[in-house]
Subunit: 133 residues, 6 copies
């Protein structure tokens, strides 16, 4: 159970309600995720965080679907159930199939293993790495 009160969408002040409306609009969602609702206990933090989500996940040099894949991979690596579920749902809404999700996680599996191996053997970076063709 969430350790703080999750405010209902109708019990928040006007400025928070505006952010909530922007979240629903931007992501074309019928609800405001609990993550943003709990941030309402600190409206300035909610606003700054939402602004940053729009900047980071909005149009840029990397396409949106790749960013959702990255978000899912990072969340798997950090072990966050909530985010894995939320971003897998986002990928599903973009038409991602089971095979693609398993392939994505195969990459997470492969390199998470290698990451620890290299640490465990204290392997030095390859001198040639900058010369890679």
């Amino acid at each position: 159970m969430t350790t703080v009160h999750i405010p209902g969408e109708d019990e928040v002040p006007a400025d928070v309600a505006e952010v909530f409306a922007d979240i629903r609009r931007t992501f074309a969602m019928s609800f405001v995720p609990n993550m943003f609702k709990v941030m309402a206990h600190n409206p300035a933090y909610l606003k700054a965080s939402w602004q940053r989500v729009k900047v980071v996940m909005g149009p840029g040099l990397i396409e949106r679907k790749t960013k959702e894949m990255l978000a899912t991979a990072v969340s798997a690596t950090n072990g966050c159930d909530y985010c894995v579920k939320a971003h897998t749902a986002a990928l599903r809404a973009m038409g991602t199939c089971d095979g693609e999700i398993v392939e994505l996680m195969a990459v997470v599996d492969l390199f998470s293993g290698f990451n620890k191996l290299l640490e465990g053997l204290q392997v030095e970076p390859d001198i040639g790495v900058a010369k890679r063709a």
Copy 2:
């Protein structure tokens, strides 16, 4: 310093040398990364790992550049200097610019933060998550 001896490419048995040649050929590299060299202390493990790298990083449903981005993101999340350097070098070889790398890491930053926030508040998954449009 690596905790085990890093065998030179010329001091390994023939079956290991064959894997080394396949690694250089597959990735069009002028050297065998230290990660594979240390695996030579256990040839069966080297072979099985290299086979898995070819399967996971080879042609599939997700394109190669996206996989390199995922590898870099996962390695950043796990805190592996060696892999961050190696996969950033691979991205560079594919023409990735500074702006794209910073945007990639902005996604890692954003969700690594949210991952811990959600854990720290024990936020429950959204009931509506499956209904997302």
Copy 3:
């Protein structure tokens, strides 16, 4: 489900029962947390761990409430549900409100994100860091 038997407070030997009594007394708790109960399978480990808890969480240079905040932040970062719940409960017992808990987790969010960003870009420490005013 816990992977080992959780011994009841009445099925432990006298020396373990004494530690249990000291835990209840020290923290003014009506029960012995499961964490200490499972340690009873190794009484020397229980005693040494409880002694260390008393030293680390007892009076020192940092006040108790700050230590509970640190414990909650560390547990969120490590992803431990049990500890997040236990230390949030301890903070609640000290009168901590929802706003304070969200502010605490905003700090965890902010720096967990930056931690991974810095790793992902391999950013060098600032030369000026020691000269900071």
Copy 4:
């Protein structure tokens, strides 16, 4: 070595230079930390991140020194050398002594250990946790 170019304070556009000036002013620092400099490759991300730093680390319900302790503890738990050094320097500038820093890390040590123990034994939360007095 940082994987992207670290722009000098004099080679950035006017809007980025303004953020840099605000950072130096706010933290009374003689330099802009490399972390913010690398963000300059994506000015919108820099601005949104800096805004969030000001909100999270600015005046609130938790005092500034406690927030720096939390930042140091979180960075130690995530294993970020850059941040550990930066926030320890900030604590030093506030007059924190060796004994206080070791006591802070003793809390990180104690609970990081317990976090993994509880995961490793899959210990269930205490039913009595909400009733804690």
Copy 5:
């Protein structure tokens, strides 16, 4: 709930069914673990992963029970419920008692704590470490 479909043992193609049969035979299990079932969405990944499991967990220089202990310790450190349960079950099947499991986790507890302490204080490696007798 698993984010991808878990294929039944009777709905997979012949080559996957063969791997499944080999898994049941090798581990003398009456079922195929869900982990391998979800890999069936990518048969080449399943085969390469299963081959690697056989190599790493099969006969070598370290005995099987020690490897199961290592697997349980690593899974506790990474915070993976599924693996902690699976490998504790494997240890139980080898006759491991409650006391041994708690002693195993005491080691995980002790060093996970020290790992973070050393990071948090940026302690330099001992010069004498190579000379240790």
Copy 6:
């Protein structure tokens, strides 16, 4: 560089010097590891930690070499250079060869990967896990 002063063995009070002597004696080492030296800033914490090391690493149900392997595996998983080096040195002093160390890290690699895969796909525990033969 260590963020706190590392006290020399000759500048500590008598009770700390006694612990230092016990450390050198117990591990048959010619020096006191920096980890214990920095703890000297908080003698009660040093004493309680050293007492716990003796209990956890001393004679019990698991043999010493296996415990050193577990310590190395846990430290690799947590990404602690200092501990990886220290415990690999301890394993070397017990006669562990390169092949054994690589095999140990192959286990860390394999399961660290699987740990993240299972999290990333939210795979449910096997119902049959308790029935494993």
